[in-house]
């Protein structure tokens, strides 16, 4: 089933206790597409400036990622992010952001993308997410990510978007800020009342919580690992694995959602083992299958 993602392409500089990586490839759409491509063909929609040093056709070579929607905009500069991690590395400190091309008009949607049935709107201004969603014919499953910035500065746009999408994926701090509920189950229930039929709360090293409007709940730990070099992109890799799995299933009932969350968890656990895209790009299906089997065996207790 076709899976469309729209999100950022970034030039990242990341510092963790394990080192510094300057001007490396990052961005939500990049991590997402790399992760999702293990499960399903991906349609990529994103924009870079003319300064972008990366050849994304090379980056995604051998993977079923359609780059028709990749725009290189003359006269613009690529999005840049500088971040660092300390201690348990469960939260990124943003040390600098240059929105650049992300503050301009969104990339235009290729005609061939309009029939996309599964859609992931990675974190960006909710008005833009809405505009992109509106330009699609009739998606069956639309899921969005968001962040504190939009909850604080574009709340009305976000609330309007929540009425239009099927699912929201966000981290635990964002769920608390969006709803004013400290208890995550209560926060999840409050988000469901805002529109989506399911919400996925990402807790980093503590795993994931799913709630649906059918009063279903699912909690899954993260894959336990001490092999964490750079958590950048963990949430987007998780979302890519989850959405890729769902698009491949062609449905999003509770069982599919549970399996998809487990798949996302395992892809994310591989993505954080090295800086930038290094680890996830070096992963193959066999390695991912083996991680999934190990994770399922670990969780089984009967």
């Amino acid at each position: 089933m076709s899976l469309l993602v729209t999100g950022s392409i970034g030039i990242d500089t990341v510092k963790t206790p394990f080192g510094v990586m300057e001007d490396c490839l990052g961005g939500s759409a990049i991590y997402f597409s790399m992760a999702a491509s293990f499960f399903t063909p991906v349609r990529f929609l994103g924009v870079v400036g003319e300064d972008c040093p990366f050849d994304l056709h090379e980056v995604f070579m051998g993977r079923d990622v359609d780059l028709t929607g990749l725009e290189s905009r003359a006269g613009s500069k690529t999005f840049r992010w500088r971040g660092s991690y300390e201690g348990s590395m469960n939260e990124a400190n943003t040390d600098g952001v240059e929105l650049n091309v992300l503050a301009e008009a969104p990339p235009s949607m290729p005609g061939g993308y309009k029939d996309s049935e599964f859609v992931f709107l990675a974190n960006t201004a909710p008005a833009l997410q809405m505009q992109l969603l509106d330009s699609l014919d009739s998606p069956r499953l639309s899921v969005a990510d968001t962040m504190n910035l939009w909850i604080d500065t574009a709340r009305d746009d976000l609330l309007a978007l929540l009425k239009k999408i099927n699912g929201l994926a966000l981290n635990e701090g964002e769920a608390r800020i969006l709803t004013g509920n400290d208890n995550l189950v209560a926060a999840g229930k409050a988000i469901l009342k805002l529109g989506p039929s399911f919400v996925v709360i990402k807790k980093g090293e503590h795993g994931t919580l799913l709630l649906t409007d059918k009063n279903e709940t699912f909690a899954l730990p993260a894959y336990p690992t001490d092999n964490v070099k750079d958590p950048t992109g963990a949430g987007d890799s998780f979302a890519g694995g989850m959405m890729g799995y769902l698009a491949n299933c062609g449905e999003f009932g509770l069982t599919a959602l549970k399996q998809a969350i487990a798949a996302g968890t395992c892809v994310a656990s591989l993505a954080i083992e090295d800086f930038s895209l290094n680890s996830i790009a070096a992963t193959n299906e066999k390695k991912l299958d083996s991680r999934l089997t190990e994770f399922r065996n670990m969780l089984a207790f009967e």
Copy 2:
């Protein structure tokens, strides 16, 4: 299989966003015994002062809890704890402690307890935990809890204890402080090097992490709930359910440990639904079985 617990009996004053409960029954041995008694007979070892307003024979009436080891010490005062919870209530603020009788000699071990095969040394000074352990004939499984205070002030005693016990149960902050490792898997591995054959890291609302010296790992989320009125005793109820389950099995291999951790998780989820012992004392086997079934069904994803 006989299960011995030694720990505190407290007069608690607890404040949460849902109210204040003054001078109510608390203490690690109390919560532990209540939880463990769903699974196995419990031998209780603890001491109160002459001011203790609670009749523990009445509290444990109808449960298989042997109170031979309950000492009421003339001229002494009962341990008191005042605590409060805010926000997600994942961590207690200690607003006041009066050690009282806990700062004196430990209760003496009844002769009939010395053949106990399963032992839980709830949180107290590690030198006392060692003394109590040494007074037993030949326990098959000994597990201890600890806290920041002892890690900071009685580290050598704690390290000596760790060489003598089979398992350590502690919370995530304590695991980080004890080892200097922020990553919990790394912290768990470091603890195993200090002696125990398994370590259970309690993460409150985020569940539990188990590591064993056979390189086995298990992670389990907490039971997802927005029905949390008072988290006091959650960790001790968890330990009681876990140890009670293991004592009932009569073994502590990986499968038994996994099931025991799930059992402890469910008992703890019931304990936090009301202040003090109110909820766990009102729980019956049917309610606990139903919680366990619901939890297993939630976790299943194949």
